[in-house]
C-alpha cells in the first residue's frame, strides 16, 4: 500500500533512515559549535551571534535562541559503512579489489597503482584485510538555485569507495554524501573547520577501527579506513591542501621551483619554461630564437614528498574565520591542512589529485578561443603582442598602428577566414554518435 500523504510516507521511512547531525557553525567560518563550544551563543573569535538576528532586534534574549545562522550537515560515515557491510552483495563487492580483479600488470583500477601497494607495505596490518576501506574525498562548490545568477555556494563533500569494482565505485549509489556545508559564502581556506567531524571519524577508523558485521564472510571484524586521495578542481585543491594556487608559485607540485613570467601588459602570470622538464641533452634546450631567446640549463626538481610538505606546513599557524584581519602571509603554504592529522597522510605520494576534466576543458577552451579568435577567450590580443615585444621575442608580430586601428600581423596560429570556415564546417557537419550532438548545436550557432 502506498501512503496517501507525504506525512505518512515520512513516518514509514523515518525508522529506516540513517541519522544525521546538524552542527551549528559561525557564519564567518571561525568555529563549529561542538565540543567545548557546544553551549556558546556567540562566536568566541568574532563575536557574531550563533543564531540569526533580525536587523532591528537587538534584544539580548533573542540572541540566545532561534534558527542558527549557519549549519553544517554531517551524515556520520561509520553507520553507513556498517550498513554497506550488512548487505551480502555490497560486502562482496567491497572485497572485489582483492578477489575479482584481473592482475596482469596493466593499470585498470586504483588497486593496481603503486600508491595502493605502498600502503600495503607500509601498513601490512591494514593491507592484509581486503575489507579495510580506501576512500576518495571529492568536494566542489555548487549553486543550489538552478542557473540563477546568485552567488550562493554550498559545498557537498562526497566519499568514493575505491574498494568497489571500477564500474561501481563512481556510480551514484556508492558515492556517499558525507557532509553538506551550507552557503551562502564559500568556505575557502576555512574548509578545515568544517571537515573536522569527518576527519575525527576517519582518525577513529584508522587508529582503532570499528567492529562491523560482514554479511559476505559472515563474521565480525575490525573495520579500518584510509583516505586515499582527494578529487577537486584547482581552486578547491588549494583550499584543501593549504597551498596558494594563485600568484607566481601557483603550481603545487613544482612549488617554489615553478618557472613563471609576469606579463606587464596582459597583467597576468604565465608559466613558461617547460624545457627544464626535458632530458639534459635534448636539442630543444640549445635553441634560442625559437623559445625565449636563451638556452635552458635548469633541471626540474623532483616533486616534494609528503613528509617534506609536512615539514613546511607544520609551523604554519592560522586562525580560521573570515572577519579577522589576517597578517599578509608571504608563505606559499597557507595552513597546516587538517588532513595531516591523519597519521598516514604524509606518507602518501599523491594526496590531492589534479582533475583531468578541468585541465582538459580549460586547455580546449584556450585553444579553440585562440584559433577562432573569439573575443574574450583568445590569448592572442594586443596586450599579448606587446608583451612579446617587451620580452624581445618574435618581433615580426609586433602590433602596428594605422590611425585609430591596430593591426596584428598573423601569427603562425592565426586562421584566415577560409580556414575558420573550414574549421567550423568540418566540426559542425559531422555525423557522429550522440555525445557530439550538444557540440553540434553550439557550433552550428556560429554563423559566418
Amino acid at each position: 500500500m502506498l501512503p496517501t500523504r507525504h506525512y505518512e510516507a515520512k513516518k514509514i521511512l523515518c525508522p529506516m533512515g540513517m541519522e544525521y547531525q546538524k552542527i551549528h557553525a559561525c557564519p564567518n567560518d571561525c568555529i563549529l559549535y561542538r565540543k567545548e563550544f557546544e553551549t556558546l551563543t556567540k562566536c568566541p573569535r568574532c563575536g557574531v551571534s550563533r543564531f540569526k538576528v533580525k536587523d532591528d532586534d537587538m534584544d539580548e534574549d533573542n540572541m540566545k535562541k532561534g534558527p542558527p545562522a549557519k549549519v553544517l550537515w554531517y551524515l556520520p560515515i561509520i553507520p553507513r559503512f556498517k550498513r554497506l557491510f550488512a548487505n551480502v552483495n555490497d560486502a562482496k563487492n567491497l572485497v572485489w579489489h582483492a578477489n575479482g580483479r584481473k592482475s596482469d600488470g596493466l593499470l585498470r583500477h586504483a588497486a593496481d597503482s603503486p600508491q595502493w601497494k605502498k600502503i600495503d607495505t607500509l601498513y601490512p596490518q591494514f593491507g592484509s584485510d581486503p575489507r579495510n576501506l580506501r576512500l576518495g574525498l571529492a568536494t566542489d562548490g555548487m549553486n543550489p538555485y538552478g542557473n540563477l545568477s546568485s552567488k550562493h555556494s554550498s559545498w557537498p563533500v562526497l566519499l568514493i569507495i575505491y574498494n568497489l569494482p571500477y564500474w561501481l565505485s563512481m556510480k551514484r549509489k556508492y558515492m556517499m554524501l558525507s557532509m553538506m556545508i551550507s552557503g551562502p559564502k564559500q568556505p575557502e581556506n576555512d574548509i578545515d573547520v568544517y571537515l573536522s567531524p569527518l576527519i575525527e571519524d576517519l582518525r577513529l577508523l584508522w587508529d582503532e577501527g570499528v567492529k562491523v558485521f560482514d554479511a559476505h564472510g559472515n563474521d565480525n571484524f575490525n573495520l579500518r579506513a584510509l583516505l586515499f586521495c582527494t578529487i577537486n578542481d584547482f581552486p578547491a585543491y588549494g583550499n584543501l591542501s593549504g597551498y596558494s594556487v594563485k600568484g607566481h608559485y601557483a603550481c603545487p607540485i613544482c612549488e617554489e621551483n615553478t618557472s613563471y613570467h609576469q606579463l606587464k601588459h596582459g597583467r597576468k602570470t604565465c608559466y613558461i619554461g617547460h624545457r627544464k622538464f626535458l632530458r639534459r641533452n635534448h636539442s630543444y634546450r640549445r635553441l634560442k630564437k625559437a623559445f625565449n631567446g636563451c638556452q635552458e640549463d635548469k633541471i626540474a626538481h623532483p616533486p616534494l614528498t609528503g613528509e617534506e610538505v609536512y615539514e613546511r606546513v607544520c609551523q604554519v599557524n592560522v586562525t580560521f574565520g573570515k572577519i579577522l584581519k589576517k597578517p599578509i602571509m608571504k608563505n606559499i603554504w597557507k595552513k597546516n591542512s587538517i588532513f595531516f592529522q591523519l597519521p598516514y597522510w604524509a606518507k602518501l605520494d599523491v594526496r590531492h589529485c589534479i582533475d583531468v576534466m578541468h585541465v582538459e576543458k580549460n586547455v580546449c577552451d584556450s585553444i579553440i578561443g585562440t584559433l577562432l579568435n573569439i573575443k574574450g577567450k583568445t590569448k592572442d590580443d594586443v596586450n599579448s603582442r606587446k608583451d612579446l615585444v617587451e620580452m624581445g621575442l618574435r618581433l615580426e608580430l609586433q602590433p602596428q598602428a594605422y590611425g585609430k586601428r591596430t593591426y596584428l600581423p598573423p601569427a603562425c596560429h592565426t586562421l584566415s577566414k577560409v580556414e575558420k570556415k573550414s574549421f567550423v564546417h568540418a566540426s559542425a557537419k559531422l555525423k557522429y554518435h550522440k555525445d557530439t550532438l550538444q557540440i553540434l548545436r553550439v557550433l552550428s550557432q556560429w554563423k559566418i
Partner: protein, 446 residues
C-alpha cells in the same frame, strides 16, 4: 564572425571535442607544425584518459607531454600558458602513482551535484532539503535491496541490456530475396559457425587429395562452389544429432527478415538509408579478419593476414533457419588495397565511394565493430575513420572484461615526429596568408 562567443560548451563537450573532433577539424588548415602539435596534444589527452593503461608506456607519455608543451611555447604567445596548461606536465605522474584517470576525475562528482541540485524544493533552505531528500533516498535505496522486482537507485541501466545477443529495433520487413544472395549469406554463416569448421577443414583436405596439383586459388574457388552441397549430404549421411547443425545444413528460408536498425553487443547499428534520416551515424562497421589476402586478381599465392575491413551497412538481415535466425549485415566494403591508407599522423583514411568485394558483402552481426566516418576537410574524396566507443558499463559484469584492444582510442600509437631539431628559427608569422587581426584601440603601441 566578429563577435563570436563560445557559449554552452560544457566540460564533456570539450572532452569529446578534444578527444575526437579537434584533430579532424584542423586537418588541412594551419601550418603543418602547429597542426601537428595540436593533434599530438589531442592524442595525448586521449591516451591518458584510457581506462586501461600499460604502465610501460607512461614514461613515454610523460616525455610526450613535455615536448608538446615546449612546442606550444614555440608557436603560441606567452599569455596562452596559464596554470592549467602547465598542469599537463604533472598529469602523467599522478597516473603513475594513483592509477587510471577515470576513477579520479570530476565528471561523476559534477553529475552528482546536478542530482543534489534537483533535490532543492524549498529555496529558503536549500541545504536542508538536499539532506532530507538524500536521507529519504538512502532509506528507499536500502529497501530496494530487500524487495524483489524493483530497480536499484543510482546505478544506471544500459539501454542495451538484454539485447546483447542481438535484437532488431526498427523497420522490420519480410522480403523474398534473390536465391543467389541468400546462399551467399548462408555460405558466410557456415564459414563463421564454430561447429562447422571441422567440416570445412575436412572438405578442403578432401579436395586437395583429389586434386593434388591444383594451386591454392583454384582450391579455394572449388571449395566455395561445392562445399554447401557436400556439407548437406555429409550431415544427412552422418545422421548428426546436433540440432543446430541439422537445421544449418538444410539451408535457409528464402524469405528474409530485414531490419533498418539492430542492436547487438552493446552497439546500435542502422542501415545507410536509415542513417541518412538520422542526426547520428550508426552505419559504419569494421571487421578485423584473418583472411586470404589476394593483392591482385591474378595473385595465386595469397597470404594469411589480419586486416581491418571498412564498410557501410546496406541491409540488415536475419537469415531464417526455421528453428533459429542468424543476423547478418550486408555491407558495402571499401577496397583495402587501394582505397584505404594511413596518413603520417596515423589516421586511417578510406574512400567510401569506391566499393569492392561485391561477391562477399556479408558479415555476422556479432563480429561487427562500430566506426564513424568523418569527411576529411582537407580532401573531399576521403573520409577519416574514427573508432567507435566500446561500452564497459553495466552492472551485469561479473569480472573485469576490459581489454586493451577494446578501449576506443583515437590512434593506436603516438605519431613519430622528429623532436630533435637543431635549426634554431623563429616560428612567428604565417606566410601563406596575411589576414591579421584588426583591433580598434586608440592607444598606440610604444
Amino acid at each position: 564572425m566578429e563577435d563570436l562567443k563560445l557559449v554552452g560548451l560544457k566540460s564533456h563537450d570539450c572532452h569529446v571535442l578534444m578527444q575526437q573532433l579537434l584533430p579532424v577539424a584542423i586537418r588541412g588548415i594551419l601550418p603543418k607544425n602547429v597542426r601537428e602539435v595540436i593533434t599530438r596534444l589531442c592524442i595525448f589527452f586521449n591516451s591518458i584518459c584510457q581506462k586501461v593503461i600499460e604502465p610501460n608506456t607512461l614514461n613515454d607519455l610523460e616525455n610526450e607531454a613535455v615536448i608538446i608543451l615546449c612546442q606550444l611555447e614555440m608557436y603560441f604567445p606567452p599569455s596562452f600558458f596559464d596554470i592549467m596548461v602547465h598542469l599537463i606536465v604533472h598529469l602523467v605522474r599522478e597516473i603513475k602513482i594513483c592509477g587510471p584517470v577515470f576513477l579520479r576525475w570530476m565528471y561523476p562528482v559534477e553529475r552528482y551535484m546536478k542530482i543534489l541540485k534537483g533535490y532543492v524544493k524549498n529555496p529558503y533552505r536549500p541545504e536542508a532539503s538536499i539532506i532530507e531528500r538524500y536521507i529519504a533516498e538512502e532509506a528507499i535505496e536500502f529497501c530496494t535491496e530487500y524487495l524483489s522486482d524493483v530497480e536499484v537507485i543510482g546505478i544506471p541501466k544500459s539501454r542495451h541490456e538484454g539485447r546483447n545477443e542481438g535484437k532488431g529495433t526498427r523497420g522490420v520487413k519480410v522480403v523474398r530475396k534473390d536465391q543467389h544472395e541468400v546462399l551467399q549469406a548462408h555460405f558466410y554463416i557456415l564459414n563463421n559457425t564454430n561447429d562447422v569448421i571441422p567440416y570445412i577443414d575436412s572438405h578442403k583436405s578432401l579436395l586437395k587429395s583429389t586434386n593434388p596439383r591444383a594451386n591454392e586459388k583454384w582450391l579455394l574457388i572449388e571449395h566455395n562452389k561445392t562445399f554447401m552441397k557436400w556439407f548437406k549430404e555429409k550431415i544427412s549421411q552422418e545422421d548428426c544429432d546436433v540440432e543446430h547443425l541439422k537445421w544449418l545444413a538444410r539451408g535457409p528460408n528464402f524469405d528474409v527478415i530485414t531490419w533498418t536498425g539492430y542492436d547487438i553487443n552493446m552497439l546500435s547499428f542502422y542501415t545507410k538509408v536509415e542513417d541518412d534520416k538520422s542526426t547520428m551515424q550508426n552505419s559504419g562497421v569494421t571487421l578485423e579478419a584473418k583472411s586470404m589476402h589476394f593483392s591482385s586478381s591474378k595473385d595465386n599465392n595469397p597470404i594469411m593476414a589480419s586486416i581491418s575491413y571498412y564498410g557501410v551497412i546496406e541491409e540488415i538481415w536475419e537469415v531464417d533457419y526455421i528453428k533459429f535466425r542468424v543476423p547478418v549485415f550486408k555491407c558495402k566494403w571499401v577496397d583495402i588495397n587501394t582505397r584505404v591508407h594511413v596518413d603520417e599522423l596515423g589516421f586511417t583514411l578510406v574512400d567510401l565511394k569506391k566499393v569492392s568485394y561485391k561477391e562477399d558483402p556479408f558479415i555476422m552481426a556479432y563480429q561487427a565493430k562500430q566506426v564513424f566516418y568523418v569527411n576529411d576537410p582537407s580532401n573531399k574524396r576521403w573520409s577519416i575513420v574514427l573508432q567507435g566507443k566500446v561500452k564497459h558499463d553495466g552492472h551485469d559484469h561479473d569480472e573485469s572484461t576490459l581489454n586493451l584492444i577494446d578501449t576506443p582510442s583515437l590512434l593506436r600509437r603516438i605519431p613519430p615526429t622528429n623532436d630533435e631539431v637543431d635549426n634554431d628559427e623563429v616560428h612567428a608569422t604565417r606566410n601563406d596568408h596575411n589576414e591579421g587581426i584588426w583591433e580598434n584601440i586608440l592607444t598606440l603601441p610604444q
